[in-house]
């Protein structure tokens, strides 16, 4: 027989048991965060060991006046908006395709999630070869059908589009899996009732499936967006952030500035800029979804 302690006693004894977990959490989460904040207010020298010199808000002033930072913000926001939107549309389309019983549906499910199982570096190298403008298969294909070669990674707008295409290819399965699970979680009786009432396929999708899928869809989009803001590996391999800084994301800029130029304090400031951007985006997203839910509940 299992004896559960009385609630009051549980609270008294919980402290010592919780301490290791809380200490680890503080050490590995709170300390790096606080240290990063301190770095943004300092000048860092490694000569003679790590030395910090308080410089006030100078790194932040530099950040808001840095054209490269704003280019990175623009690139990151475009990549997140474009890739997550496309991933959602494609993921939903694939999920709807496999929602209905389909012969070899299991095989398709496996095939569709393969890209997600690959490492970003491997994907980066694969797409870098595909995009190669001299010997890559994409341009070879275009030449075969009489179209001129495209500067996939060297033009003005194409490099960013190429990164988005790669990202969509890589992460659509993530949304597909979550949305398919969400669809499968909807009771079939509801759909059948709508069919008996004579609803068309589009009406079922619009008025039955989508409202019931919305909580799952919102969580999936939010999770994916938070991850998309941190994009770095594929860009690093495919374009290195170039040409110029046309595909440089905030994470990549933080890496270049902090760890290649060895400007640790400013690199930390760029990273903190990304953090604030992600928090702001998440707040806006949650606020919009809360309002739309309220509007639906109280039209």
């Amino acid at each position: 027989m299992i004896h559960f302690p009385a609630p009051g006693r549980s609270r008294e004894t919980a402290g010592p048991f919780l301490f290791p977990a809380v200490a680890l959490l503080l050490l590995f989460t709170l300390f790096p965060f606080v240290f990063t904040v301190v770095l943004t207010l300092s000048r860092v020298s490694l000569v003679g060991g790590l030395q910090l010199q308080f410089t006030g808000a100078s790194n932040w002033v530099r950040l808001v006046t840095d054209a490269r930072f704003w280019t990175s913000v623009r690139n990151t926001v475009i990549m997140v908006l474009a890739s997550v939107s496309l991933e959602f549309v494609l993921g939903l389309a694939l999920a709807l395709l496999l929602y209905a019983p389909l012969r070899a549906g299991g095989l398709f499910r496996v095939v569709f999630i393969v890209p997600m199982t690959l490492t970003p570096i491997a994907i980066g190298y694969m797409w870098r070869m595909i995009y190669d403008e001299s010997i890559g298969p994409l341009n070879a294909l275009l030449r075969e059908v009489g179209l001129g070669p495209i500067g996939w990674v060297s033009g003005t707008h194409m490099p960013l589009a190429s990164i988005i295409i790669t990202n969509v290819w890589h992460w659509t399965p993530f949304l597909f899996v979550l949305l398919l699970a969400g669809l499968r979680g909807i009771p079939t009786e509801v759909v059948e009732a709508a069919q008996i009432d004579g609803a068309s396929g589009l009406q079922i999708f619009r008025y039955v499936l989508m409202p019931m899928l919305t909580p799952t869809a919102l969580a999936a989009v939010l999770l994916r967006s938070l991850e998309a803001f941190k994009i770095v590996d594929e860009i690093f391999i495919i374009t290195g952030g170039g040409p110029g800084t046309r595909t440089e994301s905030l994470t990549l800029q933080a890496y270049y500035v902090g760890l290649l130029s060895f400007d640790l304090a400013y690199g930390a400031t760029v990273a903190m800029g990304l953090f604030l951007l992600v928090v702001a985006a998440a707040m806006v997203f949650l606020s919009i979804t809360r309002r739309s839910r309220e509007a639906e509940e109280h039209p």
Binding site: A67, G151, G240, P243, L259, L260, F262
Partner: protein, 493 residues
């Protein structure tokens, strides 16, 4: 055979065996039990010589070599953080001589002056004076040169010597087609040969091969063009800072014109050239893609010795072209010249082998470095493919047998060695920047060069932005200290 004879034979055999084994027994295992951790770039380039000579050193000394490597882009960061935090994980480092200011200036490396002076076998005087300077910091020697670096221009002899092309070129540009003597001629030739099948193999070929990628050595590719525009003979401080004020020179009118001309080359190369690094320049030149190229000695080596090269026996090598006008930052005037101003650029300055101040066995560290630098081994290294080491001793130019074994053919070999020798001995040869913060200055400029090449900023705006960042870096590192070190490096009082 009688019993006595048998005894004599056995005894003689035993004695012979003992005699043969004696040298091994008698050899003093000077560094028995010593393990040296050597840190450098990942293979093949630069790490390969360590892999080649480590077994020999281990057999001769009883020591052990543990090779640790990292990609070039991470090398400085890893070395600097290991030194600064005093981790003592590396005993020997093979690094870019341009970083000597950070490493020797902060006493992270051992002063090897006395050991070098006492080492007759090293043949220090055989090392070209330019490369002796690459390990000199404040009059003391903090490493051994193991590589010589200078940027050179390459051209396809078969294209530039083709009579029909010569006639067509003269008709179009009004002067004779020849190996380019100025950067203007370089551009014209690149334009002439761009995007058609001038090699007659059914494929499209291009005018020029350049590295424009940030993090892909674009800094050096630009500087090697700019030097001719901004460095009249004898003008110190023309390339980086005004030595009186430490004000950056990289946005003066000479640099702006150089950048405009350099950026114009983007359209005269293969598709995607804007993302090329120096490795792409080498492989594409060997594949026959370009009529002109600019690079360290490696393009010549890959083109002449790689089994897949289609340009073997067709490569001309020359000192970098010049400029018919040169900007004098002191007078703030352009000078028109009768003969092009040539300023060969010792880009990168070569790899250096140094011993960390925290090395557990400095003698062993020095001994391994001198194994790489000594005449015989270094000759093998510079005449072996994929070592990344280029000639840096007088003797490397004298003995041609190794170069021919390596795969070079005439007249490419003579042209190659002559171009290197002429560049190094040129009175207006320009050294690469060597002072604390070099990596930060480089990255700041390279980022802006990439923006200009991508059309995100004009040459003027990009260089102004880079100059502003250089000012910030100088202020952070201490203007007066930087100025003193820069003036020291220029040999100014």
């Amino acid at each position: 055979m009688g019993r006595n004879q048998k005894c004599v034979s056995i005894t003689a055999g035993l004695l012979l065996t003992v005699a043969l084994l004696m040298p091994a027994w008698a050899a003093p295992a000077r560094f028995a039990g010593v393990t040296l951790t050597v840190f450098t770039q990942n293979p093949p380039y630069i790490a390969k010589p360590v892999q080649m000579f480590a077994p020999k050193w281990e057999a001769a000394t009883g020591g052990k070599i543990r090779l640790v490597t990292a990609p070039f882009g991470e090398l400085y960061t890893k070395m600097m953080s290991a030194f600064a935090l005093g981790t003592g994980v590396y005993d020997v480092v093979i690094f870019a001589s341009a970083w000597l200011g950070d490493f020797a200036g902060n006493r992270y490396l051992l002063d090897l002056s006395d050991r070098i002076k006492a080492d007759a076998g090293l043949k220090w005087d055989d090392i070209l004076p330019t490369y002796q300077q690459t390990v000199n910091w404040g009059g003391r020697l903090y490493g051994l040169p193991v590589d010589g670096d200078v940027h050179l221009a390459y051209y396809r002899r078969d294209a530039l010597e083709n009579p029909k092309y010569r006639a067509d070129f003269k008709k179009k540009y009004g002067y004779d087609l020849r190996p380019p003597q100025t950067w203007k001629e370089y551009r014209d030739i690149a334009e002439f040969f761009n995007a058609w099948d001038w090699a007659g193999d059914g494929r499209t070929h291009y005018g020029v091969l350049e590295a424009f990628k940030r993090g892909g050595q674009a800094f050096w590719f630009f500087m090697s063009q700019a030097a001719a525009y901004v460095c009249p003979p004898g003008l110190k401080g023309c390339l980086f800072f005004d030595p009186e004020t430490m004000v950056p020179q990289i946005n003066n009118p000479g640099f702006v014109r150089a950048l405009e001309d350099w950026v114009a080359l983007v359209k005269l190369g293969p598709p995607g050239m804007i993302n090329f690094d120096s490795g792409d320049v080498r492989s594409q030149f060997a594949a026959g893609a370009g009529a002109l190229a600019k690079d360290w000695g490696d393009t010549g080596i890959v083109g002449s010795t790689d089994v897949k090269s289609v340009v073997k026996g067709k490569i001309g090598t020359m000192v970098l072209p010049g400029s018919s006008e040169v900007y004098d930052y002191k007078t703030k005037q352009w000078r028109k010249l009768d003969r092009p101003n040539v300023a060969p650029y010792l880009a990168f300055g070569g790899w250096v082998c140094g011993v960390a101040a925290t090395a557990r066995n400095p003698a062993a560290g020095y001994d391994f470095c001198r194994t790489l630098a000594e005449p015989a081994n270094s000759y093998v290294a510079v005449t072996t493919s994929e070592t990344g080491f280029n000639p840096f001793r007088f003797s490397h130019f004298r003995d041609l047998s190794g170069w021919k074994r390596f795969g070079f053919v005439e007249p490419d070999l003579s042209s190659y060695l002559k171009a290197i020798e002429q560049s190094l001995s040129h009175p207006n040869a320009q050294l690469d920047l060597k002072m604390p913060g070099q990596a930060r200055y480089l990255d700041a400029l390279e980022t802006q060069l990439a923006r200009a090449a991508a059309g995100q900023a004009s040459a003027r705006a990009a260089l102004d932005a880079a100059a502003a960042q250089w000012e910030r870096i100088t202020n952070e590192l201490g203007r007066e200290r930087q100025k003193a070190l820069y003036r020291d490096w220029l040999g100014l009082k």
